[in-house]
């Protein structure tokens, strides 16, 4: 049998080879985007910091939406105008979950952005791994620290190095519907303890048809900040500075019992509604949509809730344990850092300083990520804020005057601890688990996640 395959001649082979080479070159060009000759894409640019090296493109990244990205891209451009070098900052963004996944994979490829925002939940991992630029040599030089204080430096300190700095802070707060509490005969400003909160929730429940007394915060799978506040008020920590578990079964049990009692009294959001609301975001929350009288929220959500809510909402500090510690206050930082792979560490440090300390940057970005960490920036933007925004900033400023013990950096495994707390709390809410069993499970699972510590 004779086969009639088309046999490539030398000419066709060469032509194909040239074509393949051209295709490969085109693909490579596509892969690098429209990067400038001295692009810092992937932190691998070749432009030098001393100027004269041609245009430089540096990558920056943040989590959030397109509006936030545009705001910070404009702020970075303002910084670029102050430089002698021809620098362009290329901003990318994504929702928090995909953002963190993208960071992890780019870190694995040693291709982190030059400057990017970092969660306090992850800075310990990245700092320990050597993926981040140690900012210590630039502190007091390129990066000014006199307006942010030692606590801010501590927020990004991992081991011996300072790997990130806070641009903004958020906090935990109590939101309440002023009219609903008045109708229930409760003075919102008098809610200072957890027992006060429970009493107010019972009084306000059903004050209007379908109104829930208090939104249930226990099933949040994310960071469990309210529980963390409760644990610190009890004199314990979620994580020890050594990376172990710092809370007891008794404390977590008393927290779950507090909410279990309210749930038994029928004054909390039903668990199925509560879980759906977690997915609906801040604008769809119970308090924003006027379906509950009281809710624990992140303080910065106040400025997001006010434009969408129909009712008058007030902001108050989180309740405390009457006999608890006084130095429990903590403020989750929004951190900014640089990749260890950046080719332009001094420009990166300059941009970090600009976003942390420069009033022009603060006036441009305002409260998009929280209350500015720099006291000077905070003072500078106050006249630009409306009443609700000012209330948020003033609450953070006021609370930061209280004594604060160090806020340990979250260690590797912290995500598993959060998931365990959320999962077991939800099981209690659905009556699938007793409070004591859930408390035992949380402690056991958390210790296992932290390697038995």
């Amino acid at each position: 049998m004779t086969t009639h395959l088309i046999t490539p001649s030398r000419r066709t082979f060469l032509t194909a080879g040239v074509g393949a080479g051209a295709m490969a070159a085109m693909l490579a060009a596509c892969g690098r985007g429209d990067a400038a000759p001295n692009s810092g894409g992937g932190g691998t640019g070749t432009g030098d910091d001393g100027g004269g090296g041609g245009p430089i493109t540096m990558r920056t990244a943040l989590w959030g939406n397109a509006d936030r990205a545009q705001l910070y891209e404009e702020a970075a451009a303002m910084f670029a105008e102050t430089l002698e070098e021809d620098v362009t900052f290329d901003m990318s963004f994504a929702e928090l979950g995909p953002y963190l996944e993208r960071l992890a994979t780019t870190a694995a490829a040693n291709d982190l952005p030059d400057v990017f925002f970092m969660r306090d939940t992850h800075v310990g991992w990245y700092g320990q791994s050597g993926s981040l630029l140690d900012l210590t040599p630039y502190l007091g030089d390129i990066i000014q620290t006199d307006q942010i204080g030692d606590a801010a430096i501590g927020d990004g300190t991992v081991g011996e190095g300072v790997y990130a700095l806070p641009t903004h802070y958020v906090g935990q707060a109590l939101f309440y519907d002023v009219e609903m509490l008045q109708e229930a005969g409760i003075d919102g400003t008098a809610i200072t303890t957890w027992d006060d909160l429970a009493e107010a929730a019972r009084a306000a429940h059903g004050v209007r048809e379908g109104i829930v007394g208090l939104d249930d915060p226990t099933m949040d799978n994310a960071t469990q900040r309210f529980l963390e506040a409760y644990i610190r008020q009890a004199g314990e920590e979620v994580f020890t500075p050594e990376g172990g578990i710092g809370f007891s079964e008794d404390t977590i049990g008393s927290w779950l019992e507090f909410w279990h009692q309210l749930r038994s009294d029928g004054v909390l959001t039903p668990p199925d509604v509560s879980l759906e609301n977690d997915a609906a975001g801040v604008a769809g929350s119970m308090i924003a949509t006027n379906r509950c009288a009281l809710a624990l929220m992140s303080t910065n959500h106040y400025v997001q809730v006010l434009p969408v809510t129909q009712n008058e909402l007030a902001l108050a500090s989180l309740p405390v344990l009457p006999d608890g510690t006084e130095d429990w206050w903590f403020f989750p930082p929004i951190l900014i850092c640089a990749g260890a792979n950046t080719q332009h560490p001094e420009i990166a440090a300059g941009l970090i300083n600009f976003l942390v300390n420069d009033t022009a940057a603060g006036e441009h970005t305002l409260l998009n990520q929280g209350a500015p960490s720099s006291a000077a920036v905070r003072d500078a933007i106050l006249p630009l804020l409306d009443d609700g925004q000012r209330a948020f900033v003033e609450q953070i400023s006021r609370e930061q005057e209280y004594p604060r013990r160090p806020f340990p950096v979250r260690p590797e495994g912290s995500e598993e601890v959060n998931a365990s707390i959320g999962r077991n709390s939800t099981a209690v809410a659905y009556g699938q688990m007793s409070v004591s069993d859930a408390a035992s499970a949380i402690v056991a699972e958390s210790k296992a996640a932290m390697g038995g510590a």
Binding site: L100, A104, A108, S129, G130, D272, E416, T426, A427
Partner: protein, 319 residues
Amino acid sequence: MSALSELSRLRRRGAPASKSPAERNDGKAALFFLGPWFIGLLVIVAGPLAASFYLSLTDYNLLSSPTFEGLANYQALLTDAQLRKALQVTFTYVFVSVPLQLAAALGLALLLDRGLRGLAVYRSVYYLPSLLGGSVAIAILWRQIFGTEGLVNQVLWWFNDIQPFFHIQTQGWVSNPDTALGTLMILNVWTFGSPMVIFLAGLRQIPEMYYEAASIDGASRWRQLLKITLPLLTPIIFFNLVLQVINAFQTFTQSYIVSGGSGGPVDSTLFYTLYLYIQAFTNLNMGYASAMAWVLLLIVAVMTALNFFLSKYWVFYND
């Protein structure tokens, strides 16, 4: 003399003394055209497979270099309570939803096979969910439909209103640990279009004369279904079963979207692949996740082998 050397001797004897230039060119052409595929196989499939297996033997968090620790990840799998839950969820899903999906697909294929006008339109309409079922959009839609104020509850409220005898309790079906997995099973059953089209093709292959003969003998339609259609369709049922079982083991998007990536509430939608993903990209336990991936491969291989083994007891090949 060993068998191998004998085989080698026979090959040498059978081989031509030398290849012609045309045959040599054929060989080069084959290599030329196979080259890209072979490189792709090595770089895109074999390389990552080997890397994944190596990583499964390491402690690797993506941020630091992997450190070899032998079978520690596989040993940890044995004591992981969440993994057991993920297996329970996944096997429940596979064993309940795949038979229901195939039954729905077969039932509708039998209806459509009765010479309906506009069959092509019906076939396309019913096939559509198969294309969309695994999408993010449909998962979000599902969350809305089965939400506390979703379409299902609205229908139930209406039903409770129009009659006083049966009161059906409404709830957030997706956010309740007792019912969340059920809603995802319904979603899987809804995507019956793909097996339905294959069943339809199989039904068209059954010779009409069998039915004519059965009719003459007085066999009812039901008896024809049991004695002719189903036996002759068993190879197609088997084919669909294997495909859908493998597909169901890889379910990810629906549970990821519906549960917000957590597998909740209370791990009720924690599919194996979702738990693998959480370990890899949330907890950054990439070594452990790699070990999970290999165990999943093993599970799917065993299930497929089991299917093939059992097929000799119920699949009828008309040859």
